[in-house]
């Protein structure tokens, strides 16, 4: 009989379609695994409401578990509790940085309209001398930054709470 732990391990082999160095588990998208006699139910939560990768993640999870020999797999999408970047694991933050994406910083509450911009260190050279180019980047979850020292443009995985 398969254990829940094994299923979680298989799920770490399912990559995020947009940031393939991270798995759906690293990202904190998988919330729950339920085993019954003849079915595996995986509960996931979207990063952003309109994230086009969610459907793909759903399909990939089913495909991976089918491949591992589990015939009946269902994926359920829940909205609450809403996903937060706080669920991105420590290990994943290191992987993100190595991949060239700055991981989420501890940002002030968005409801403070005129807060000072946060410092996002450059994932290439580590300099704190960087600037935000745009609050919105290549995907819904990222902002666009540039390093003033090494001039590298980079993505910042923005903090969502």
């Amino acid at each position: 009989m398969v254990t829940e732990q094994e299923i979680w391990k298989y799920l770490t082999e399912v990559p995020d379609p947009e940031i393939p160095v991270l798995s759906v588990v690293d990202l904190g998208v998988v919330r729950k695994v339920d085993l019954s006699e003849d079915e595996i139910k995986v509960t996931i939560t979207p990063t952003y409401s309109g994230c086009p990768a969610m459907k793909r993640m759903e399909d990939d999870i089913v495909e991976k578990l089918n491949e591992k020999g589990f015939g009946k797999v269902s994926v359920e999408l829940v909205l609450s509790p809403a996903w937060t970047t706080d669920w991105i694991t420590e290990e994943a933050r290191i992987k993100l940085r190595e991949y060239g994406i700055a991981p989420p910083e501890n940002e002030p509450d968005k409801s403070v309209l005129f807060a000072n911009p946060i410092v996002v260190p450059c994932p290439k050279c580590g300099s704190n001398n960087t600037r935000m180019v745009s609050q919105f980047g290549s995907t819904a979850c990222k902002a666009h930054y540039q390093c003033n020292d090494c001039l590298e443009p980079f993505d910042y995985f923005k903090c969502l709470r």
Partner: protein
């Protein structure tokens, strides 16, 4: 079926749908690349919210309709979005100000809807709020930058304000549908949302050196399905594929 809840979900979902569609019209036309990406990112969030809201509306209605059939296969009088969101994009100032008025309304609305006695509506609000805070930050920063910018940018966004102000009152429209839902603690009091909206709007417009028009013309009708001429053109484009090729899928 809970008729009032269904009606309210259409109002909420159609606001996201129509504004999301309007913003998507900027794709490839943004004044700078970063703004092109920002506006389309916001459009994507809004369409994602639409999907959650209308999918739930379909469940509440219980007549077999889903988010797609509600979004693509209704006639204009069955859309319940407010008039503000269907107004044309105009220049970047008009688009940003329209967005700002909307975001400043949605943030307190979603904040309060998180406490809804309806579990699914509360979950949608909790999810959407996080995204909407980013939208509000973006739009309010631009309103300030344009208002307190050059003579040209100030004149343009002031003219957008003179034009769009008349549509803002409808954001707080409230009828017997709202009264019933309010009594069941499903939705907050529109007046409470308005108080928060006024605080944000006043703070940002002051910082932006913009002034609110003194004439008090107000338009409404969208919540009852009575729209400006613009909605018909939006629907023609939005619905073309499904009307021409029924049930087509990507």
């Amino acid at each position: 079926m809970d008729k009032n809840l269904f009606e309210y979900l259409l109002r909420l979902g159609d606001d996201s749908l129509i504004l999301g569609h309007r913003l998507s019209e900027w794709c490839g036309h943004g004044p700078i690349l970063e703004e092109d990406i920002a506006l389309t990112n916001i459009a994507l969030d809004l369409i994602g919210q639409t999907n959650s809201i209308l999918e739930y509306a379909g469940k509440v209605e219980g007549a077999g309709r889903n988010a797609d059939s509600l979004a693509f296969l209704r006639f204009d009088k069955d859309y319940k979005n407010c008039l503000l969101v269907e107004q044309p994009n105009g220049d970047f100032g008009v688009t940003i100000l329209r967005q700002f008025f909307f975001d400043a309304y949605r943030v307190p609305l979603f904040t309060m809807l998180q406490n809804s006695s309806d579990e699914q509506l509360a979950a949608i609000a909790e999810k959407s709020l996080k995204e909407t805070r980013y939208h509000l930050k973006h739009s309010s920063e631009w309103v300030i930058r344009l208002g307190d910018g050059t003579d040209e940018s100030h004149a343009r966004i002031q003219s957008a304000l003179d034009d769009l102000w008349r549509y803002t009152d409808e954001l707080f429209f409230s009828d017997e549908t709202d009264a019933d839902l309010k009594a069941r603690n499903i939705i907050p009091d529109a007046a409470a949302v308005k108080t928060e909206w006024q605080k944000t709007v006043q703070a940002v417009l002051t910082e932006a050196t913009l002034s609110v028009p003194t004439n008090n013309w107000k338009f409404e009708g969208g919540r009852k399905g009575l729209h400006s001429e613009h909605l018909g053109y939006i629907l023609a484009e939005l619905q073309f594929m499904q009307r021409a090729y029924p049930n087509m899928e990507w």
